[in-house]
Symmetry: C2
Amino acid sequence: MSAVSEVSSNASAIAIRRSTVAAELARVLAPESVLVEREALMPYECDGLSAYRATPLVAVIPADEQEVAAVLAVARATHTPVVARGSGTGLSGGALPHAEGILLSLAKFKRIVAVDPLARLARVQPGVTNLRISQQVAPLGLYYAPDPSSQIACSIGGNVAENSGGVHCLKYGLTVHNILKVRAITIEGDVVDIGSDALDSAGYDLLAIVTGSEGLLAITLEVTVRLLPKPETACVVMASFADVESAGEAVANVIGAGIVPAGLEMMDKLATSAVEGFVHAGYDLEAEAILLAESDGTHEEVAHEIEKMIEVMRASGATQIRCSSNDAERLRFWSGRKAAFPAVGRISPDYYCIDGSIPRGALAKVLKRTEELSERYGLRCANVFHAGDGNLHPLILYDANIPGELETTERFASDILELCIEVGGTITGEHGVGIEKINQMCTQFRPAELAQFHAIKAAFDPEGLLNPGKGVPTLHRCAEYGAMRVKGGALPHPDLPRF
Amino acid sequence: MSAVSEVSSNASAIAIRRSTVAAELARVLAPESVLVEREALMPYECDGLSAYRATPLVAVIPADEQEVAAVLAVARATHTPVVARGSGTGLSGGALPHAEGILLSLAKFKRIVAVDPLARLARVQPGVTNLRISQQVAPLGLYYAPDPSSQIACSIGGNVAENSGGVHCLKYGLTVHNILKVRAITIEGDVVDIGSDALDSAGYDLLAIVTGSEGLLAITLEVTVRLLPKPETACVVMASFADVESAGEAVANVIGAGIVPAGLEMMDKLATSAVEGFVHAGYDLEAEAILLAESDGTHEEVAHEIEKMIEVMRASGATQIRCSSNDAERLRFWSGRKAAFPAVGRISPDYYCIDGSIPRGALAKVLKRTEELSERYGLRCANVFHAGDGNLHPLILYDANIPGELETTERFASDILELCIEVGGTITGEHGVGIEKINQMCTQFRPAELAQFHAIKAAFDPEGLLNPGKGVPTLHRCAEYGAMRVKGGALPHPDLPRF
C-alpha cells in the first residue's frame, strides 16, 4: 500500500468512526450539542499551547450532569477516548484533542451555584471563569486568591485540572490549597463528592489527587472554593538590580528574613524593555532585572512589611527602590508584569513559555546557566517569573519560519527543565505536564514512581479513556526517550501532530 | 469440634505461623530485632486507643531501609500483613497490631538527617518525635508548626500517617501542608521519592494521598518538613461566655471578621473545672465556656489582631476578657488546654475522646445537640477543642466497670460523629479513622466513593498486606452496618478483640 492510500484509508476509517460515535451521541444530546463538521471543530483544535493541534472525532457541549454521564456511557460503550476542556487557555496542551476521541466542552457549566459569606465558600460549576468568582463576591468584601495571568478567561475546572497558580500563590497557595470540595464524575459514570466543608476529610486525599490530574482521572462537575477577605490595603515595592543573579539573591534574602510577600516577581531587562514600550508601567529600563514585591494586610502590617523588604533589598544591592503610593500606581506596576507575555510577543515572531520550579536557593545559579544556554543556542530568552516561589517562566524568543529554530528552541527548553531537575526542582510550576513535558517526566521520575502513577490512573480509569497520552509517559516511551538521549541525538518530539 | 478445641487449634496454628515467619525474618535481621516472646510483644499490643488490643505474630525493629525492604520481602513471600508503628500515640487504633501480622516498629529511625536553614527545610527519619524537630532548629530561630498535644512523644512518621494537626493548625495547616517530600517504600519493595523541594511536583499528588493514609499505602522512610521562622511575639486572649453556644458564635464571628488567629480553642465548664484543680491555669470557673485565642507575628501585628479580637469577643457577649501580659502567662493559659485530657481523666474512671470536624457555622448547633445527647445517654461530656477550625474533641466520661457503659459511650460517640456528617462535616479532624471510626465511614461515603478508595489501595497494595482492616471499610461491612442500624439495634463493634 502506498503512503497516500494509507493516509486516505486512515482518513476514511476516522470518518466512519466519527459518524458511528456521533450517531450514538445524538441519541443522548440535543443536535446542536454534538459537533462533527470541520468548521465547528476548528475552535477546539488546540489550547494555549498552539504549536500542537489535532481535530477531535467529535465535540460535545453537554448542559448538565446527566448529559455528561450520557456522553461517558457512549465513550465506554464505543471505547472512545474523552478529553475534557474548559476555556482552552492551558499552556501544556492538556486539552489538546485526541484525533480519535470525543472533546467534551464544559462551556455550559457556568453557574455560580451558591455563595456562603459566613463560611467563606462559593460553590461553582467548572466553566465559571477564575475572575468571575472574585467579581461576584467583591460586594461581600471577599475574593478568590489564585490568579493565573489568564484569569479573565481561564475556567475554574481548568484551574483544578492543572492545579493553577498565579502571582499571589506565594502567600496564598496553589489551587489545591484554595478549594475544599470537588464533585466529579468518573469514566464509569459514578458521581463522587470528594473533600469536605470541614477541616479534614476522612479516607485517602482524593481531592489532592484529582487536583492537577489534567483530566486523566475524572471530570469535574462542581468546585467548592475558599474565599478570602479582601486585604485592607496593598502596596508594591519595585527594586532595580545591576544583574539577574543579585536580584535572585535578593529574593532568597527576602524569604530568608521571614517575610512572606503576597507576590514576589522578577523580570529581566529583555522583558521590561518589551513591556515598557507596550504598557508604560514605569519600569527602570537601566536595570538588568527588577523585582516587584507586594505586601497586603492591614495598614500597620503592610507598612511594617514594606519597610523590612526595602531594608533587605537595599542590603542585597538594589540600585533603585520605589513604592507604589496609591492603588492606581500599584496596579500600573502590575500591569507590566501581567502583560509581559503578549509584550514579548511583540518583539519576536514567536516565543516559547517554559514553566519549571526550583528551590529558591538555586535561583541565581539557574539564571546564570540559562544565560549561558541562551548564548550557546543563539536564542534570546526573557525571564518573567514568580521568583518568590521559585517558579520560572523563561520565554525563549524564536522564529518558527526559520527552519530548525523551533527544534533548537525545544532543545533549549528541555535543557532548562532538566536543569530544574538537577538542582532539586521539578518540570512544572503551575502549567502542568500535558503533552508538552511528557518526555521530561522520564528524567524527573524513576520507573517505580512512574509505575505508581500508572497504578493510580488505573484505579480511576482502567481502560485509559480519559485524556490518553498526556501527563504520565509510558515506561516504553521513557525507554525510547532515554535511548535517544544517550545517543546524543535530537530530542524526540511527542507523537502528536504539530503545526 | 468443641469451642475449646477450636480456640486451641487456632492458637496452635498461630504458633506455627509465628515460628515460620520469625525464622524467615531471623535470616534478614539481627536476632535482637525480631521479637516473638509474649512479654516482648506486650508493649506493642495497642496504641493510644487502648480499648483495642491484639498481640502481633511478631514485631521487628529494622535499623535501615535495606532491613525494612527485607522485612517486606518476607511479608510478600509469606503473605503476612504488616502494620507500621511510630511512637504508638495514635488515638484511632491505626497502629493496632494484626494478630496474624508483623508489627514493624520504626523506633530506630530517629536521625535528623539534614537541616537547611536557608531553604527552611529539615530532612528527618520517621521515628524522630515532633517536638525534637522544633528543639533542634530553635537555635536557628525556626520551628515546625504542627503541634499535636502528644508532640513530646509522637513521631513524625505517625504524624504523616494520620495527617496530624494541633492547636496551631488553624493558621499553619495540617501535616500535609507542612511537609514537602516523603521517601517511602511500597509493599513491593520499591522506594519512591514523592513531592519535591520546589513549589509543585509533576504527576499525581502522591504526597497528599500518602499523607493521612494510615499506613495502608506505603511505609515512610524519610520526611522533608517545612520550617517556619519563630514569630517575634505571641499573645493569648482568654474570654469567658455564659453558655457554650455564644462561645461558638464568637468563634464564627472572629473568623467572619477576617482574623486568622494562630490558635482558637474552646473549653467548657466541665473541662475548665477539671483542669483548674490539676494545673491552676487561672481559668474563669464561673464561665460556662472559655475561648483561648492566640495571635502571633510582629509586635504591631499582634497588638492590632488582639485589639480586633477583643472587640469581636465583646460584641459576641464575652463576660470577661483577659490577655496574657507576658510569655509565662501565655504558656500558663495554654498549659490548661494541653493538660485537659489527663485532667478529665482525674475526674472520671474512663473517658472516650472523639474527633470530628464540622463547618464552623454549625458549631453552636452541634454543641447544643451534644448537650441533649449527654442528657439522653446520662453521660457527662466535656468539650475541649480546636474551635477555630471546627475540629471537635468531645470527651465522654464513663466507667468501664459499669456493665454496658462502654457500649452506651460508643453509641453516644457514634451519634456525635453522625451529627458531624449531618451538618456537612466529617468523622475525622486529626486523629484518623483507624479501627475506631471504620463503621462511620459507611455513613460518610457512598459506595462509589468507597470503591474509589479501594481502587487507590489496590494501586499501591493489591494483595492488601499493609495494615488490613483499617481506614476504609469493605462494602460488605458497610452493608452489614447499614442493616444493623436499620434494625435499630445496638451498634456493631469492629471485629477486633477489645479489652
